[in-house]
């Protein structure tokens, strides 16, 4: 799966949050949009990353191109609200509709700058699990990779979007569906992966990055109203933090205006 295709843990409802959900989700979408640089080729995914792509194109990255694994290539937001990337509004007005292997070929060739991913679990080295989890002593089967392992293996960099909950942040995933940095260090090169790895993890609480050589996840910024202790309490290992972490920048008025244009009913960010 790519980010946003519903594959959460069985008892959870995707990225929904109680209380101040609107603000947190808007912060997540805008943080995702800021990962996209102008002119980049983006493996988009659905829902929050799709909105992030729309915000990026409408603000700082008007020349970004979006690729979808079902074969769609777009240089504009979809013609209407979507539940899946295969919905008619994502086809109408596309630049190109082709095969999955054509689009994956661009990915394999190294033409995708950034890919968005989600999952049930992410670990200390950015590995994702969307296949098997253990819940209350019972093995639970999740839907599987979809295109996520391909995007994780072959993009120049990936951005992972996650609900920040302790059960979703184990120190080591029990099943490695989509490779991050494996056991850290030079694991990707040794596995034969040509490039890539996660650059950021954007969660409901914080933005995280990866240390240059060890490739261990570390806290970069916390969202307004969140404390470092909140983040540590929802992370399953001793997360590396700095003494004074930055605060994730709030969305600008322009960014919020674009978000409202693409999500008028607040279905995704409301």
């Amino acid at each position: 799966m790519t980010a946003g295709r519903a594959a959460g843990l069985p008892s959870s409802g995707g990225l929904s949050l109680p209380g101040d959900a609107a603000t947190r989700r808007q912060i997540m979408v805008v943080a995702a949009s800021r990962e996209i640089r102008d002119g980049e080729v983006v493996f988009v995914g659905m829902r929050l990353p799709l909105l992030g792509f729309a915000v990026a194109r409408a603000t700082h990255a008007p020349r970004a191109i979006g690729l979808f694994e079902n074969g769609v290539i777009r240089d504009s937001p979809p013609a209407g609200p979507l539940i899946t990337m295969g919905d008619p509004p994502n086809i109408a007005g596309a630049v190109m509709c082709t095969t999955l292997l054509d689009v994956m070929g661009h990915l394999a060739r190294g033409r995708v700058d950034i890919g968005f991913l989600g999952g049930a679990q992410v670990d200390r080295f950015g590995n994702l699990n969307t296949t098997w989890v253990e819940e209350r002593g019972r093995r639970v089967r999740l839907p599987g990779s979809g295109g996520a392992a391909d995007i994780a293996a072959l993009s120049h960099r990936t951005v992972i979007i996650m609900q920040h909950e302790r059960r979703r942040f184990p120190e080591r995933v029990g099943y490695l569906t989509s490779p991050g940095y494996g056991a850290g260090g030079r694991w990707r090169e040794e596995a034969g992966l040509a490039r890539g790895g996660p650059a950021r993890v954007i969660t409901s609480l914080a933005v995280l990055g990866f240390a240059p050589d060890s490739h261990e996840m570390m806290l970069e910024s916390i969202h307004p109203g969140v404390t470092v202790d909140d983040v540590l309490a929802e992370t399953g290992w001793a997360l590396r933090t700095s003494a004074r972490p930055a605060t994730t920048p709030e969305p600008t008025a322009d960014e919020l205006a674009v978000l409202r244009r693409f999500d008028p009913s607040g279905a995704w960010t409301g």
Partner: protein, 306 residues
Amino acid sequence: MAATKVMTLRDAVSHFVGDGAVIAMGTGLEACIPFAAGHEIIRQGRRDLTLVGPISDILFDQLIGAGCVARVIAAWVGNVGAGIAYNFRRAVEDGVPRSLEMEDHTNMTVALALDAAARGVPFLPSRTALGSDIVRGHRRLREITCPFTGDRLLGVGALPLDLAILHVPRCDRDGNAHLWGNLGITLEAARAARRVVLTAEEIVDGAVIRSDPNRTLIPGFLVAAVSAVPRGSHPSPTQGYLNRDDRFYDEYHAETRTRDGFLGWLDRMVTGSADHDAYLTRLGTARVESLRPATPRLAAPVDYGL
């Protein structure tokens, strides 16, 4: 060769879907999923099928819950609207209604496995999925060393199909099919299959197909049977013919949470409906009509002039 390929869906399933067959369906990912054909397979009680797909939507879940499936070869099995597919979980975790063998893939590896079969080679190389647990102990994915460069690569073994069942916008009576919208792994599946069965929104005159040969993506010589099944992809969309029935996915998710709930759903919508027309009637005329695209978006004509 049969005198005509055009037949009812009931006859197409009866003639071309055998017990134990390896069948690709849902090759367009979230769109053009041949639900009507899958339902007819359930009605006719086929058993021990191997289902092949990329991401696979609730059609696989329905066939699994109905006891038709022994093995799934796919990258993702779920409900694209709501996440978890409960029949799939019950089968894999608890062997209900029967045990299910799962061959996990990525979207790219399942596409390459079909493409290898389509090209008549035993495998194709790739750099995807290296380091993923999907590859460990896999019967069709193996790390190999490139004979030219010495690079570590993933060899993806060929996956020949007995049958590909595809829902298409329009084709002629010979099965020459125009496709538009996202293609997913449809073309690789058609080429990898010994036989192709089409369900079509419309069966059109051959002259319509020949007016735009670049849009013909499946040539009729691959096709064994053609059935006219308007809205045969419901609840998934077919561009220009049917929009997605989003509500259906949520209702299915809620109703199939328990085995009994699924059996009630199956009895009402599939085994208790004689055919796809009865299924659509069960859904209700107003609901089906509301899914018809309201605003045409015609492509500009192209000139094949001499």
